[in-house]
Symmetry: C2
């Protein structure tokens, strides 16, 4: 039975994890997987996986489980990863360079197509096969390639300005590495990569844990 409830964002955020786990299963040669098995790998309950998938259709077989390849194909299509999304990266410091060079970003559905930096000394240099361009060219490049996704790896002081530029040029999804929360119009999605905040939240538990190790209830796989 189909139903038509809108999938909550928290479900959308788990889909990429399901997809990745399915890719690993394919690498291992596994053909079929149950919600139970999949759940154990990513520390999620079987019920949750089934419920999540039910927002999009019926992909399994009772008594059997899910065909790994087929389920992956379904999830990738749901996420829009059957098409390729050009991505621009703004800010080519140490972090930006690591991002540009990171193999993982050349992943299903994503391709970094341009690098930008405000530092004139960097403009013209090549990183990971791409020539660094001036910040001021963001608008034209984004429009020309119809880019919808951007990664921002500039200092916090520059992040809002760069975001405004990107949004104005047509970008609708931003992955922000700068340690500051930016303001965007409603139609734009911003997500944050904030390792320091994450570490700062773990110290809370460590500070309470000190010697007696059996106080904590659960530290598993919080994503």
């Amino acid at each position: 039975m189909e139903h038509f409830e809108l999938p909550p964002d928290v479900v959308i955020r788990r889909l990429p994890l399901y997809a990745r786990s399915l890719r690993y299963l394919i690498d291992e040669g596994t053909l079929s997987v149950s919600s139970q098995e999949l759940g154990e790998r990513i520390n999620v309950t079987a019920a949750q996986i089934r419920k999540d998938l039910s927002y999009f259709g019926e992909f399994g077989k009772q008594g059997i489980g899910y065909d790994v390849e087929k389920l992956l194909a379904h999830i990738e299509r749901i996420l829009g990863l059957h098409q390729e999304w050009p991505v621009v990266l703004v800010g080519v410091g140490h972090l930006g360079q690591a991002i540009a060079r990171y193999e993982g970003f050349h992943s299903k559905g994503l391709r970094i197509v341009a690098l930008f930096d405000s530092d004139p000394a960097k403009v013209g240099q090549e990183v990971a096969g791409l020539t660094i361009q001036q910040d001021t060219d963001i608008t034209s490049v984004v429009r020309e390639h119809d880019v919808r996704l951007a990664i921002v790896a500039v200092p916090a002081t520059r992040a809002q300005d760069v975001t405004d530029l990107l949004v104005q040029a047509g970008v609708r999804g931003i992955l922000n590495y700068a340690p500051i929360i930016v303001q965007v119009p409603e139609a734009v999605w911003v997500r944050y990569i904030d390792p320091v905040a994450v570490l700062h939240s773990m110290t809370y538990y460590l500070a309470r844990n000190e010697v007696g190790l059996f106080t904590s209830t659960n530290g598993n796989g919080v994503h």
Copy 2:
């Protein structure tokens, strides 16, 4: 009135964002802030901020708001950031190097004290003032410095092994950059930095958005 409900994890994760915003307010010379104003900066409701803080005590004044410096000091103490946490970093590829060099990590309460890599060619090299050590020395170094926090920036294939080593040596909080979910004992906290998964979740909305821009309800500040 004090009450003694245990703060949920979702609250603990917001505290570092409050702290950071307060630091920016201090830089701007602001002495006092209301929950309303603070909330607007980080896209959180005023009620949520007040409720969150109420798990830990009473820090504001009716009619006035919060003393910025005092509230920051309280939050830092709650998070355990009044002490300094030594951190080890395992995996000194492009990403690991960017992490080691990133100023932001030399932040309140954190100090990277050792770098490890399995590649013999890298061992002995210096990055950000630290000499890269062999993976096999993790145990002794972690024990010697009583390290509780680690950052893992190795390939996915190595992540579980490295995690096991760290946990066995005494680490209780792990920030994992590897695109794989690792299994740990209950007393250990793992959190993930997973930019590709985040991008893959944004494409979902972009794929649906294509031309008609007024369909989306809210893309703000999802953290």
